[in-house]
C-alpha cells in the first residue's frame, strides 16, 4: 500500500515537474535574442547597403561588388529569420508579427528592385556624365567648330550642373535643339559628333531625374521603421510570454526546492542505511572470520563443561558415598559407644579392685610367715600366697596391662569421637567450624598411615572459626594428608600451618617428600589423574578437593619442588 502511494507521488511529481518545466520553457530568451539580433543585423545591413548606393551615386564606389555582396548577406539573413521557429518562440499568436514581416519582406524586395534599377541607370548616367566633357572636347577638336563654342560650352555647363543639381530641363532641351540647329549645316563629322553630344545630353536629361526618382523611392521604401516595429512586436510578444510564465517559474522554483530537500532527505536516509548495511557487512565478515575460532572455542568450552559435568557426577557419587559412610559411621559409633562405656568403667573398677587386692595380698604375705606348715591348710595357703607372690612380682605387669587396656579404650573412644565428629559434620550442612578440630580428626584418621616414619608438626595459628561444610573440608584435609604421607618414601615430616591472610584462613600442609614432577603439576587437579598403580588410587581426591574449595569460595594451590617436597595451601574465606 505504502509502495503504491510512493509510486503515485513519484509519478505525479515528475508530471508536475515536466508540466512546470514546459510552461517555463515557453520563454526562449536565447532564441528571442537571436531574432532581435537578426533584426538588428538586417537594419544595419540595409544602412550599409543604402550607404553603398549613395557612394555609387557620387562615384565614390567604382563597382557594384560590395552592393551585390551586401544583398547576398541580406538574403542569408532573411533566410535565417525564416528559419526561426517563430511559433515555438512566441506562441501561436504571431499573426500580426507575420503580417509585419511579410510587409517588410515585400518592401525590401521592392526596394531591391529599385536598387537594381539604380545600378543600371547609374551606370548609364555616370557613363554619359563622364563622357560628356570628352564628347564636347572631341567636337571642339574638329575644324570649323568655333561658331559652336558658345552654344557647346553653355550646354556643357548646363548639363554638368544638371547632372548634380536640379535644374530646369527645358532650358537644356533648348540648348540641345539650338546646337543641333546650328550644326545642321556643318560637315558630316561635326553633325554626327553633335548628335552624339545631343544623345548623351538627352540621356543625362532622361536618367538624372529618373535616378533621383529611384533614389527617392529607395528612400521612401526605407525598412528601418518596419524593422523597428517588428522588433517592438517581438519584444511585446516576448514580454507577454514572460508574464505568462512568471508564476510557473516561481512554482517551478518552489517545487524544485521541495524536491531538492526531498532528495537530500532521501540521500541522508540512504547514507544511513548504507552505513548500517556496511557495518552489518563488516560484522558479518568478522563473524565469518571468527566463526571457526568461535566454534573451536565453543567446542572447547563444551568439552570442558562435559568434563565438569563428569566431575560433578563423580563428586556426587563420592559425596553420596561419603554421606552413606557418615551415616554408617554414625550408627557404628553409637553402637560401639555403649559397650565401650561399660567396658571402660568395668576395667576402671577392676583396676581399683586389683589395687585393693594387691594391698590384701601384701598383708597376707606378712601374715603367712608366721603361719606354721602344719596347720592343715597352712601349707596350702602358703603355696597359694606364693603363687600370689608371683603375681606380686607381676604386680606392675597386671597394673600395666590394665593401664594399657584403658589406654586402648581411650584410644577407641577418641577414634569413635572422631568418627562421630566426621559423620556429624557431614550431616550438618554448613556451620561455623574450628578448622583445627577438623585437622585433628583428620590426623587421627590418617594416623595409622604415619607409622613410625612420619612426624607431624602442627604450627596452628590463631584462626577464627570458618563457615563451611566440615565433612567436605575434613575430606580435603584427609586427602592432602594421605597424599603427603604417600609422598614421603622413607622418613619425613609433615608441617601443618594455619594462619589468617587478609579475609582468608590459610591451611598449609607441607611435606618433604619426593615432590611432584613439573610435567605433572598442571594436571594434578584433573579428575582421574593419578600416578598411583591401578586400584590404589581413584585419581579423584585432588579434583574433589579442588571442587569442594571452589564451592566454598575458597581455593587450593600447590607448590612443589621435585625431591624437596610439596606444599598444598588451602584457603577459605572467613566470611562464609
Amino acid at each position: 500500500m505504502n509502495k503504491i502511494f510512493t509510486n503515485i507521488v513519484t509519478v505525479l511529481s515528475v508530471i508536475l515537474l515536466i508540466f512546470l518545466y514546459q510552461k517555463t520553457q515557453l520563454v526562449d530568451t536565447e532564441q528571442h535574442n537571436q531574432v532581435i539580433s537578426t533584426l538588428g543585423t538586417l537594419k544595419q545591413l540595409e544602412a550599409v547597403w543604402i550607404n553603398q548606393v549613395l557612394h555609387s551615386r557620387l562615384a565614390l564606389n567604382n563597382n557594384y561588388d560590395a552592393m551585390a555582396d551586401t544583398w547576398i548577406t541580406l538574403e542569408t539573413t532573411h533566410q535565417r529569420w525564416q528559419d526561426f521557429q517563430l511559433k515555438r518562440i512566441y506562441g501561436e499568436n504571431i499573426a500580426h508579427a507575420e503580417y509585419q514581416k511579410t510587409a517588410y519582406l515585400a518592401q525590401i524586395t521592392k526596394r531591391r528592385e529599385y536598387i537594381e534599377q539604380f545600378k543600371s541607370v547609374n551606370a548609364i548616367l555616370s557613363n554619359s556624365v563622364r563622357y560628356f566633357p570628352t564628347a564636347v572636347s572631341e567636337l571642339m577638336r574638329l575644324e570649323d567648330t568655333k561658331l559652336l563654342v558658345g552654344d557647346v560650352n553653355a550646354l556643357l555647363s548646363a548639363v554638368l550642373r544638371y547632372s548634380l543639381l536640379p535644374e530646369k530641363e527645358t532650358q537644356i532641351q533648348k540648348l540641345i535643339d539650338n546646337l543641333q540647329e546650328k550644326g545642321a549645316l556643318s560637315e558630316q563629322d561635326i553633325r554626327s559628333q553633335i548628335n552624339i553630344i545631343a544623345s548623351h545630353a538627352r540621356t543625362i536629361l532622361k536618367y538624372r531625374p529618373y535616378i533621383d526618382a529611384i533614389l527617392e523611392q529607395i528612400n521612401i521604401l526605407s525598412t528601418a521603421q518596419k524593422i523597428d516595429l517588428l522588433t517592438t512586436t517581438y519584444v511585446n510578444l516576448q514580454d507577454a510570454r514572460l508574464n505568462e510564465s512568471t508564476p510557473y517559474h516561481q512554482m517551478l522554483m518552489v517545487f524544485s526546492g521541495l524536491l531538492l530537500l526531498l532528495i537530500l532527505f532521501i540521500a541522508y536516509r540512504l547514507r544511513v542505511s548504507y552505513t548500517a548495511l556496511n557495518r552489518a557487512n563488516q560484522q558479518l565478515k568478522t563473524a565469518n572470520d571468527t566463526l571457526e575460532q568461535r566454534v573451536t572455542e565453543r567446542t572447547r568450552i563444551l568439552s570442558h563443561t562435559l568434563e565438569q559435568l563428569k566431575d560433578s557426577q563423580m563428586q556426587l557419587v563420592q559425596s553420596e558415598k561419603m554421606a552413606s559412610l557418615g551415616q554408617m559411621v554414625a550408627g557404628l559409633v553409637h553402637e560401639i559407644n555403649t559397650p565401650l562405656g561399660y567396658v571402660k568403667s568395668n576395667i576402671q573398677l577392676i583396676q581399683t579392685i586389683f589395687s585393693n587386692l594387691k594391698h590384701v595380698l601384701q598383708e597376707y604375705r606378712a601374715l603367712i610367715v608366721n603361719i606354721p606348715d602344719h596347720i592343715s591348710n597352712g601349707k596350702k595357703l602358703k603355696t597359694q600366697i606364693e603363687e600370689f607372690d608371683e603375681l606380686k612380682e607381676d604386680d606392675s605387669t597386671g597394673e600395666e596391662l590394665l593401664k594399657d587396656a584403658l589406654y586402648g579404650l581411650k584410644q577407641i573412644f577418641e577414634l569413635v569421637i572422631n568418627l562421630k565428629n566426621f559423620s556429624r559434620l557431614d550431616l550438618s550442612n554448613i556451620s561455623k567450624v574450628d578448622l583445627h578440630e577438623g585437622l585433628n580428626s583428620s590426623l587421627l584418621i590418617a594416623k595409622h598411615l604415619f607409622k613410625n616414619k612420619i612426624t607431624i608438626n602442627k604450627q596452628y595459628g590463631d584462626i577464627p572459626k570458618v563457615k563451611c561444610a566440615p565433612s567436605q573440608i575434613n575430606q580435603v584435609f584427609l586427602n592432602l594428608l594421605t597424599n603427603a604421607v604417600q609422598a614421603i618414601e622413607n622418613k619425613g615430616s609433615i608441617i601443618i600451618t594455619t594462619r589468617v591472610k587478609n579475609d582468608h584462613v590459610l591451611v598449609l600442609i607441607q611435606d618433604n617428600g619426593k615432590g611432584i614432577p613439573k610435567k605433572v603439576l598442571p594436571k594434578i587437579f584433573d579428575p582421574f589423574f593419578t600416578t598411583k598403580d591401578i586400584g590404589e588410587g581413584t585419581g579423584m581426591g585432588l579434583s574433589i578437593s579442588y571442587k569442594i574449595l571452589q564451592e566454598h569460595g575458597g581455593n587450593i594451590e600447590v607448590t612443589s619442588q621435585e625431591g624437596k617436597g610439596t606444599t598444598f595451601t588451602v584457603s577459605l574465606p572467613t566470611g562464609i
Binding site: L58, A59, L60, N62, N63, Y64, D65, M67, A68, W71, I72, E75, E113, E116, Q117, K119, S120, A123, I124, S126, N127, S128, V129, R130, Y131, T134, S157, L160, R161, L164, I196, S199, H200, T203
Partner: protein, 314 residues
C-alpha cells in the same frame, strides 16, 4: 564660379575613381570541401542527369572550351537547339545571380533549370534520383558526405560547390592589379584605359568584370529593333518580372576569359571580340570606337584570361 566648383568636384570624384581600380582580382584560393567538390564533378559530368542519358552539364559547359560549348545556342537532348547562348561556368560562383535573366539567385537554385528544361536535359528530379540511386558508387559517396544520402538538396549543393571550384585566378590582368606592372604590355594598359574612358567600366566592373548588375541591352540605340526576329529569350528579365522596365534587360555578363568564350551575347550573335566591342559601343554607349582603339580594347580583354588549376585557359 559655380561652374568651376562643379568641375573641381567632378575632377576630384574622377580622381577618386582613378585612385581605386574598379576591377579587383580573383582570390587565388578558395576553401571548399574537396570531397563534395569531387562528387559535384562526377554529377556535373554525368549524362544520367538528362532524360535520355545524352547530355551532362559538362556537355554545354566544357572546361576545354572556356566553360561553354562555343555555340550560339546550346544543343540539348534529341539534338534540340536551345534558345540561348550557354554562359561560361567559369567564375559563375562570383555572379550575383544566375542565368542571363538572373532568374536563379544561387548556383544551387540554378541546377534545377537545365535539368528540367525540355530543350536542355529534359529530365526531372525523380528520374534523376532514381537513376543515381541505382549506382552503388553514388550511394556510397553520398552516404559518406550527406547523412540523408541522395537528395535533391544534396545533388544541388555538390554541383554548385564544384562550380564554385571552377574559378580562374591569376589572369595577367589580375597580376597587374596585384602590383605586377609588367604583367601586361603598354598597349594592353592603353586598352584598359580606353575600356574605362569609353565607359565599358560603368557596367563591366568588380571582381567578375560584370556579373553584378542588370542592364538593358540597347541603352542608347535599340539593339533588337535593328537585329529583328525577337524571341522570348530576348525579353531578358521581363520574362522573370513581367515588368516593362525589365524588357531587354539582362545580367551584365562577366568578361573574365572572354577571349575563349565566343560567340558572345545571349543570342551568340557576335562571333569575335571586335564585333562584340562594336555592338556594345554603339548600342550601350552610343558611340563608334576607332579601329585602333578597338584593337587596344580587345587586346586588353585578352589579358583577362585566367588559369584553372594552375593552367592558363585556352
Amino acid at each position: 564660379m559655380l561652374f568651376r566648383v562643379l568641375i573641381c568636384i567632378i575632377l576630384s570624384l574622377m580622381q577618386n575613381v582613378c585612385a581605386k581600380e574598379p576591377i579587383t582580382p580573383i582570390p587565388l584560393t578558395m576553401d571548399l570541401n574537396p570531397d563534395k567538390v569531387a562528387l559535384g564533378q562526377l554529377l556535373f559530368e554525368d549524362k544520367r542527369l538528362s532524360h535520355d542519358n545524352t547530355i551532362a552539364c559538362v556537355s554545354c559547359h566544357d572546361l576545354a572550351k572556356g566553360g561553354t560549348d562555343q555555340l550560339s545556342h546550346s544543343i540539348g537532348i534529341n539534338d534540340t537547339e536551345g534558345d540561348i547562348n550557354a554562359p561560361t561556368v567559369f567564375n559563375s560562383g562570383f555572379n550575383f545571380r544566375q542565368f542571363w535573366n538572373g532568374r536563379a539567385a544561387t548556383l544551387e537554385e540554378q541546377v534545377h533549370g537545365p535539368i528540367h528544361h525540355p530543350k536542355e536535359m529534359g529530365s526531372h528530379w525523380i528520374e534523376v534520383i532514381n537513376k543515381l540511386k541505382k549506382d552503388q558508387a553514388y550511394l556510397k559517396k553520398f552516404k559518406a558526405l550527406y547523412p540523408q544520402g541522395i537528395q535533391i538538396q544534396n545533388i544541388k549543393e555538390a554541383i554548385a560547390l564544384y562550380e564554385r571550384s571552377l574559378f580562374t585566378p591569376n589572369a595577367r590582368f589580375d597580376q597587374y592589379l596585384r602590383g605586377n606592372h609588367k604583367a601586361i604590355s603598354s598597349d594592353e594598359k592603353k586598352g584598359y584605359t580606353l575600356f574605362k574612358q569609353y565607359g565599358c567600366i560603368a557596367c563591366h566592373q568588380g571582381m567578375n568584370i560584370g556579373g553584378n548588375l542588370y542592364q538593358v541591352f540597347g541603352v542608347l540605340n535599340n539593339y533588337f529593333e535593328q537585329r529583328g526576329n525577337i524571341t522570348q529569350a530576348d525579353l531578358g528579365r521581363f520574362t522573370v518580372t513581367g515588368k516593362e522596365y525589365d524588357r531587354y534587360r539582362f545580367k551584365v555578363p562577366s568578361l573574365r576569359n572572354v577571349e575563349i568564350t565566343a560567340p558572345y551575347f545571349h543570342d551568340g550573335s557576335a562571333k569575335t571580340l571586335k564585333e562584340a566591342v562594336d555592338i556594345m559601343a554603339f548600342h550601350q554607349l552610343g558611340r563608334t570606337i576607332p579601329e585602333h582603339e578597338k584593337q587596344l580594347i580587345v587586346i586588353f580583354l585578352k589579358t583577362l584570361t585566367g588559369t584553372y588549376q594552375g593552367v592558363l585557359l585556352k
